[in-house]
Subunit: 137 residues, 2 copies
DNA sequence: ATGGACATACGAAGGTCTTAGTAGCTACTC
DNA sequence: GAGTAGCTACTAAGACCTTCGTATGTCCAT
């Protein structure tokens, strides 16, 4: 049997679907994991069939979001996309589409609405101070 | 046993789809507008059929994102969902799903990666200062 | 070898989203 | 009153997403 597995890459949507993000989140937390590992971490009321989980991970590999390595008789999946990277990409996209491309307005809405504690706010300001001083020398 | 679950509401996804956001953005900018008004504001290379635009707005009305009023022979659409509100909702969702529910980490990633100018950063810090002083009395 | 446990591959059903064509309504013009 | 222009309603095609069942393969113990 030939495992003909070399299709051409198609446009790659770059973004994770709902379920893909759910799975990727567990992989990011685990570092790596089998179908069963990921499944075990989902909410108890999630009730997703094993084969569904396997399908999802296989598709994620086709999309190059994860890679796999056969260990014994099971595949172990590992993220190819770093969480940091994906966070950045997502923020940029959101800023472009919903905040007129000005990330500052995003922060403004965040600190206005998100009910952050005062220490959280102070923490963020400290972060900015550090950032500003770093570039300032 | 009967399905006790026959709500008339279809669970309303709460979130705009890609195209719906595109249209809503124009309606937010316009305040209100007809199919033609919205269509006119899209990028010249968008090439969306008039009937497609009309369908999209009709669906958005079914989903209660907009309301309409017949003026002459055309419908004029107006947002029911405020941009601010939607921004907040989206940020909260993103924070929950991709930033462990801690908005502060979101800001951290923003100021780290987004290549903001120094004045943008200073602007944000000013915003935080104001916010902190307001609560500080 | 046979059966059982468990893993992967594939295909199909049912849903939503995007797009656009077709049909029909209304009103204005000649 | 027939034609035309512009609008809305409906329907459908095609793409993608989510879920799961079935088929198939592999390893191991009996």
């Amino acid at each position: 049997m030939m495992a003909v597995r070399s299709m051409r890459q198609k446009k790659k949507s770059e973004f994770l679907t709902e379920v893909e993000l759910e799975f990727m989140t567990e992989l990011w937390a685990l570092g790596e994991g089998s179908v069963r590992d990921v499944l075990a971490r989902l909410a108890p009321d999630r009730n997703l069939a094993y084969t569904s989980a396997a399908t999802i991970l296989r598709i994620m590999e086709q999309k190059d979001f994860v890679t796999s390595e056969k260990r014994g008789k099971t595949f172990v999946y590992r993220p190819l996309l770093a969480k940091d990277t994906y966070q950045s990409k997502t923020l940029r996209d959101l800023s472009d589409k919903l905040f007129d491309g000005t990330p500052a307005s995003m922060v403004a809405r965040l600190v206005d609405d998100q009910g952050m504690s005062e220490e959280t706010l102070a923490e963020i300001r400290a972060l900015l101070d550090r950032r500003l001083n770093d570039n300032d020398d």
